[in-house]
Symmetry: D2
Subunit: 160 residues, 4 copies
C-alpha cells in the first residue's frame, strides 16, 4: 500500500516529434492531471513531453523531468524539478518506474521501451493515438478517458 503522504505521480510518454493532434492531446492530459492534483513525470525533453508539461504547469501542477543527459538546461521550460540522469536509455526505466501509471501519446521505440517496463512492473498503461501493439496496454480515445482510467487504476491498488 502506498503511504498516505506520497503524491500521485502519473507519467506521460511519447514522441519528441508528435503530430499536431498528439501535441494537443498531450497538453490536455497534462492539464487534466494538474486539475486532479497529480504530479506529472515525463522524460523532460520536447514534443509530447513538453506539451504535457506545459499543460500541467499552466494548470498549476508540478512537473518532474527525468532527462537522459546530465545537463539540466536540456529540460523543456515547463519542468519544475529536473533529474539529469546522464543514464541515456536507462532513463526510460526511471520514467516508467517513477510513474504509478503511464499514458502514452503516439510514440515510437523509446516509448515502447517505457510501455514494456511499465507493464512488466505492474503499472497500468494507457495508449492514445498509438500504433504500438502491446498486450496489456489499454487503448483509450480521449485525454479525459486516459486520465480518469489512470487515476482509477491506482485506486484499485497498484503497490509498486
Amino acid at each position: 500500500m502506498m503511504a498516505l503522504k506520497q503524491k500521485t505521480v502519473i507519467g506521460v510518454i511519447g514522441s519528441a516529434e508528435p503530430s499536431a493532434v498528439g501535441l494537443e492531446i498531450a497538453a490536455e492530459v497534462g492539464r487534466l492531471l494538474a486539475e486532479a492534483g497529480a504530479v506529472l513525470v515525463t522524460g523532460g525533453l520536447g514534443g509530447v513531453m513538453a506539451a504535457a508539461s506545459k499543460g500541467c504547469a499552466e494548470a498549476g501542477g508540478l512537473v518532474l523531468g527525468i532527462l537522459p543527459g546530465d545537463n539540466p538546461d536540456a529540460a523543456n521550460p515547463h519542468v519544475d524539478i529536473v533529474i539529469p540522469t546522464g543514464m541515456g536509455h536507462g532513463r526510460n526505466v526511471l520514467v516508467a518506474q517513477t510513474a504509478q501509471a503511464l499514458i502514452a501519446v503516439e510514440g515510437g521505440l523509446g516509448t515502447l521501451s517505457e510501455v514494456a517496463i511499465g507493464l512488466k512492473t505492474g503499472r497500468a498503461v494507457f495508449l492514445l493515438e498509438s500504433r504500438l501493439q502491446v498486450e496489456g496496454a489499454i487503448l483509450v480515445g480521449t485525454a479525459q478517458q486516459a486520465v480518469t482510467a489512470a487515476l482509477e487504476a491506482l485506486k484499485e491498488g497498484f503497490d509498486g
Copy 2:
C-alpha cells in the same frame, strides 16, 4: 544557466544509522532548506535521510526520495515524491546528480560515493560531522552554515 522555472534542489546525504547529533543536524538542515524554498532530495530511506526529510516536510518543504529498490513503500514517511529506481547503488549517482549542491551529515561509503560523484560533476559539497576526507569537499560546522553555503554556491553559477 539554470532555466528560471526550475526549482532549487539540494541533496542531503548520510548514514542510515547516524548518531543522535547527526539526526538532529540533519533535521535542522531539512528545516532550513524548506524555509529557504528549496526542494530536498535524499536517498529516501532512514537515518539522516529520514531526519532531513522530516525536518523539511514539517517546515512545509517538498521532499524527493530516490530509492535504491523498486518498492515505493520502502520510502520514509516524509517523502512526497518517490523515485523507486530499482538501480541499487546506481541510485547514488542519481541522488548526486539530482541535487544542485550536496550536504553530507556523517556518512560512510555510500555517502562517499555520492560526494565523489557530486564533486566530479561540478557540484558544491559540504560536510557536517564527517570523517570523510575528500579534496574539494568543504567542512562546515553547523546546519545553518551548510545551507547558507550551499545556496550561495548555486548563485555563483553551478550549471550542471
Copy 3:
C-alpha cells in the same frame, strides 16, 4: 567502424520460462554463435538465457551474463563472465547495448523492452517464435537464419 580487436558480441534474449521448442532453439542459437566465433551476451538467468548459454558454452564459446541483481551466484552455470549490475530493469538496457545485434526467442515484456532499446540504438533485431509485433524487428524461421542474418547485419556496418 568497430575497432579490429573488439569481439563480435551477439545478444540472445527471451523468456525465463519458454516452451520446450524455445529452449531447443535458444540452445541452437548459442551453439551456432560459438561456432561463428561470436561472444554471447544474455541476461544471465534461466530459460532462454540459460539454454543459449549452455549451447554456446558446450560449443566452446564465451558467455557473458548481465544480471539484474547484484549477486553473481544468481547467474546460470554456463556464464563465464558475470556482470552483477544490481540495476533491475536497467540491466535490460545494458544487455541491448552490449549486443551488436539481438536475437529474441519467444519472450514477453522484458524482452520487448530490450527489442525496443536495441532497435532504438540502431541494432538489428531478429525474432524467433515470437508474438511480439515491433516495427523494424525481423521475423526469422530458424536458429541458423537468425545467426546468419545477425552476423550479416554487422558486416553491413553497425557502428553503435
Copy 4:
C-alpha cells in the same frame, strides 16, 4: 560461493591522465592479471585504463571495457569486449560490481566513487600510488603485491 565456471574478474581503475609511473604500474598490473589467468575489467577509456588493458592484452589476457558513453569506438584499442553503457557515471557502479576485487592506480574523484562502491559491496580494494584516503582500502607498494593480494582476497571468500 562463486560457481566454478565463472572466471576471476579483477578491476583496474584510475586516472585517465596518470603520471608516467602510473602508466607503467598499470601496465604491469594488467600483465600480471593476464599471467594469473584473470579477466581484466576497466572503464574502457585512456590513461590507467588503457595501460592496464594493453599490459593484459599483450600477455594474452581477456579485457572488458565498460564505457560511460554509448559509442563502442570510444574504447581503447586493447579492449576485447566492449560494454557501451551510455550510463555516464552509472558506469562506475558497473565497473566496481563487475570486478571481484579492485586495484586503483593513482586516480581522482571518479576512481574514488568506484573505490567507495567496491568497499560498500564487500570487495577488496587495493591502492597503488594513491592519494585517496578511504577506510578499508589497502595501500600496497607494487603491482605484484596488488595482484597477489587481490587474488588472495578472492580465495578468502568474496561472494558478492
